[in-house]
Amino acid sequence: MQRIRDRTLSKESFVLQMDGIGKEYYGNRVLNDISLAIRPGEIHGIVGENGAGKSTLMNILFGMAVIHSTGGHDGTIKIDGKPSHISSPLQAMQLGIGMVHQEFMLIPGYSITENIKLNREITKDNIFSRFAGERVKTLNVEAMQKDARKSLDTLNMNIEEWAVVSGLPVGHKQFIEIARELDKTNLKLLVFDEPTAVLTESEADRLLDAMKHIAQAGIAILFITHRLHEIIEVCDTITVLRDGHLVVQKEKENTDIYELAEMMVGSRITDVTREIPDISAKSTILSVKNLQVDMPGESVKGVDLEVKEGEILGIGGLAGHGKLGISNGVMGLYDSTGTVMFRGTPVTLNNPFSVINQGLAFVSEDRRGVGLLLNSSIELNIVFSAIQAHNEFVIKRGPFSQMDDKAIRAYARKMIKDLDIRCTGPQQPTRRLSGGNQQKVCIARALALKPKLLFVSEPTRGIDIGAKKLVLETLVRLNKEFGMTVVMTSSELAELRSICGRIAIVTEGKIAGVLKPTDSDVDFGLMMAGEINAAG
């Protein structure tokens, strides 16, 4: 580590120098004294779990509005040795920083060329433009195609540059995003934010080749990924972040995949601790056989899983490998096939209503999309499923039914108190709640169903540390006090290890193995990175 520090301090020319970067959101420190420096043509990997601070760091680098509206950041950024204050994405672009987005910023109806050249079109004069000005200059399609071709060739893409984007496979879209950044003539630094998450292995290999190629041309690359072997394969230097701190900065030659895995996961003091009950004697409450789920981006390709009565089972794994598909598939949200038995009776797949009626409940990872009625009140959100599935909280008179306001209000107040939902009252629309409180409403809704088994997906995604702790404690309490079986899916290994009895790791749509929370960081890191599985 010492060597890298020295180099940072040396007078060599760096494309980017970040020094002492820190960031606080209203008293929540999310980044602490991060420093890094990249030379032209260097590939710098950044590794870290979800929530380690990678996104915030990138937001700072890109001058995103969210940084400046919350009081800016600490530390300095130098581009080409010149101190720069990056206040907007446009400015970042002008400074030569490019970014390959995780969600594609491509216009689907446009051809590849048009997307690559969006708002940077090459024009030529025509008779009208002489008086009517710049904007009526004709597009020089041939020149644009040529540029696009050049960028595509850099990436070894032999697809036609006039093909329309919308019909292309996901992998191609990723490459087009890269091609667009490459086409920018002043590009000095290119950020890849988990580019391989949506790619297949062969595509990923090509991408890595392309990255080396780009780096050879003198462009610096910041490479953010989970896949450790990719880091090892292409990066010159590697930074590991954890909980907003810089853990280590190393050159590739001085580390290996095992060390990185350990440092990434880290042994930390867990917030929730409890003794793990012995479940070996318990009966199986849910058994899943050969489950296949057609969930875009998270497809499950044949999962076998047994859940024991009264346990907390964790499902971990990297994004895009299908860990989310398991709960969504069982709950009937996406087309699925396979055999699922719950307490000895088969579960009808693809029918959410009957699944809920059998006593399962689900807290979705897509809180705003699937989990909530954003314009409706907290109390309605809490009792909605119970009304529909169990006819609770309604007064029935023959064919007529009415919401039972008193019961609803009482239950909502209880839930607000129990789960510490911070709100102005049970009638506040959920849209105006913070992420953590929205999550608590989702959990409250699932609890209102009094389920025997609760699926919870990414319960702590996008919520602050205080709320995280509370959510996790609630799950433990439910498990302990009511004997509720909980299946928690999460990208954050630490939280899985803090409350789960067993943790199933999903890679490539299958269970790679089931680990104990006490197993070593290396085991977790490697299994998640797809480097080993329990069988092999």
Binding site: P89, N119, E121, T138, L199, E201, S202, G536
Partner: protein
Amino acid sequence: MNKKHNNEQKPALTAGIEEIKEIKHLTPGEKIKKFLVNNMVTILFVILCGIGLRLSGLSMAFYLNDIVNRIARNSFLILALIIPVMAGMGLNFAIVLGAMAGQAAIIFVTHWGFGGPFGILLCALLAAPGALFLGWMTGRLLNRARGKEMITSLILGFFANGVYQLIFLLMIGTIIPMQNEVLVLSSGIGLRTTIDLSDGLRYGLDDIIRTPFPLFVLMFSAVALVVLVVLLVRMRSRQLAVDAPKRKKLIMWSVFTLVLLGWSLMTHFSLSQINLVRVPTFTMLVIAVLCLFNIFIVKTKLGQDFRSVGQDQHIAQVSGINVDRTRIQAIMISTLLAAWGHIIFLQNLGAFSTYGSHEQVGMFASAAILIGGASVSKATVGHAILGAVLFHTLFIVSPLAGRNLMGDAQLGEYFRTFVAYGVIGVSLGLHAWRKLIQSRK
């Protein structure tokens, strides 16, 4: 380091390529099905128009005469809708205000007593600043009322109509001096309800050149043939593989043009009544120029910005395009074209109702372009022309078809409106349905 390759997993990349290949090698049955699904609206229309034509018992000469006139009248207005659609602003928004500007210009030019081609030119020049200003205002308003465009434009129409009435009913003769017995009410204040253009602007554009229909087709197909041959020759000299399907298409078109050429020659020297159909060729030329303009705009930076904004406002904004300004510019161009389109419309109509003829300009134009196959995000010159032909064919044949079918003039009229609106509804529905099917895939 045991790098694991999962062979069971089908790489998405190759899967995609296979799909692309599959499309190229469809069986004839699938091809037909795909063609039917993609063109169901058009097919429905062709069938309906065919049946209508049979039922109406109209002669070819009559139909041709009417459709040619209607196309000359309406195409420009329909073409004016393309740019806002391209910019993702939907239909029908600014066009009524543009029509008002055009109509105002006509009123003043008629008052000054100019007629003929010069009068039309004067109208066009006079209407331009007004239309651009109104377009600018409309664009700004619609930018402010984003997401409420529909109700806003509806009320904007009422509001503008109030202002229009204020100007031409109360201000004429009081604030705006105008002494003209023909135009102004005998009280000296306000315009009369009908304005007759027969002594001035009527056919000001149409009559510059008029040719019999077969001759028009002859000239048209001759020009088209020359263009096609030039294109073919150029393509041959380039010898690019990608041109192959294009060349096939071009050859097909050339053959078709030849057939057309032969037919027109034959008809021209026959005694067919079709020879009596006289095409307002100059107006058609103007429309052709506008078509070229629309095609030209698409190929400029401005056009590309329109399309980018129309496709995705967010991505356009992120890429540094000034979305608000682009939307305003789209509306301004459209309003200006609508003003000119309305001038062309009225000079062909010959007489118009001072307080009513601009009101519903937008509705028929937008219905026509939608039937032509345009959608909220995509509209081309082809859609506009095709829409004009289909929509107006339906309107020409349906009254008589309705009457002959129902055996009663008024039931025929009701039946006509039922079919006409129903068909518009159905075709919009089919577009939506097709989109739904496609999005499911």
